[in-house]
Amino acid sequence: MGIDRVGTSDVEAVRRVLGGDTDAYATLVARYRDRLARYAVHMLGNREDAEEALQDAFVRAYRSLERCDDGARFGAWLYGILVNRCRTTGARAARRGRVFVRDEAALNGVAHPSAAEQTEGEDVVRWALARLTPEYREAFLLKHVEDLEYEEMAQLTGAGVSALKMRVKRAREQLQAILREAERV
């Protein structure tokens, strides 16, 4: 599926916004909000940070709309802004110690989901996803959840296709290992 080209609808909305019709931007916000929100929430693991990143990405895109060379590609361009924003938001949040913990000792101290808790599958998945490095999590989400092609991912992330394939592979392996471990508890 990739990053959808909405085509003339986006082209027209972008043209109107650039022409001074600020309200036309609301159409674009409504159109892309949910999909981008899903990525941000999963990437950052924190709804508050995700909404902040999402809002900032929309505003940043509006301010830089002249740099969107092709209105039909507005969605992909906006996606790139959000991916970048999530990286910096994630880094900042981590520095505040709010979201991602990479210290194994600290992770081991986190309550392991019990068998009963595993019935709440989404919580377990989110927990497992949060244990991936940001690079692996980003690659996994873009490939498997957002259904992007590797070439599109390369454009969004600045990483090479081979590196992205490796990240996705490792992410899958690590997710499987983490979830298998959770199943044993």
Binding site: R47, A50, T88, E122
Partner: protein, 180 residues
């Protein structure tokens, strides 16, 4: 009983693809924030900023040898003679330099710009295109920072103290700005 690997990943993907709801007021907040923005600029402010940080205003000569010797990154701090007018009176202009020969873009990110890669893009110097520079006003305080190369590679500054709290996996450095 374990699922086959593909089924397990498939289950994960199905769960992650479920719709995520965000605050219903997000759209309104975006539009309100946009409504408060000034009229679109044509780049005048950006051009002025670029003029201010042109390499000729930066004393890079001591860095020539460093640029050759450094593998990836170097930084120098100095005080330009001219004050930065929009900054607080206590702010001082600090220059950051990084050697990144293969980079297409380099940004300075840190506590001072909310770790936002878009806010402080660095510029290539004229003398040596592998050297990237920028100048920012900093008020007295302690700041963590890093260089973001091509939007993906985080580089700490080997010439500055390392920040210990790099739990996101991105190395960073610390600069301390003293009072006058």
């Amino acid at each position: 009983m374990f699922e086959p690997d593909e089924e397990l990943i498939g289950r994960v993907v199905r769960q992650l693809r479920r719709p995520v709801t965000v605050d219903a007021g997000l759209d309104a907040r975006v539009m309100e924030q946009i409504a408060r923005l000034p009229a679109r600029r044509t780049g005048g402010l950006r051009a002025t900023w670029r003029w201010i940080i042109r390499p000729r205003t930066i004393r890079l000569s001591p860095l020539g040898a460093l640029a050759i010797a450094a593998v990836f990154v170097a930084v120098v701090l100095w005080r330009p003679d001219r004050p930065s007018s929009p900054a607080p009176a206590s702010a001082r202009a600090f220059g950051f330099v990084v050697v990144a020969p293969r980079a297409a873009t380099v940004s300075l990110v840190g506590d001072f710009n909310d770790w936002d890669a878009a806010r402080t893009p660095m510029q290539r110097t004229r003398k040596d295109e592998s050297v990237w520079t920028t100048v920012i006003p900093l008020t007295p305080g302690r700041y963590r920072y890093a260089f973001l190369v091509d939007g993906v590679a985080w580089l700490a500054d080997p010439a500055a103290p390392a920040a210990r709290d790099d739990e996101f996996g991105a190395p960073s450095s610390v600069v301390t700005v003293g009072g006058s």
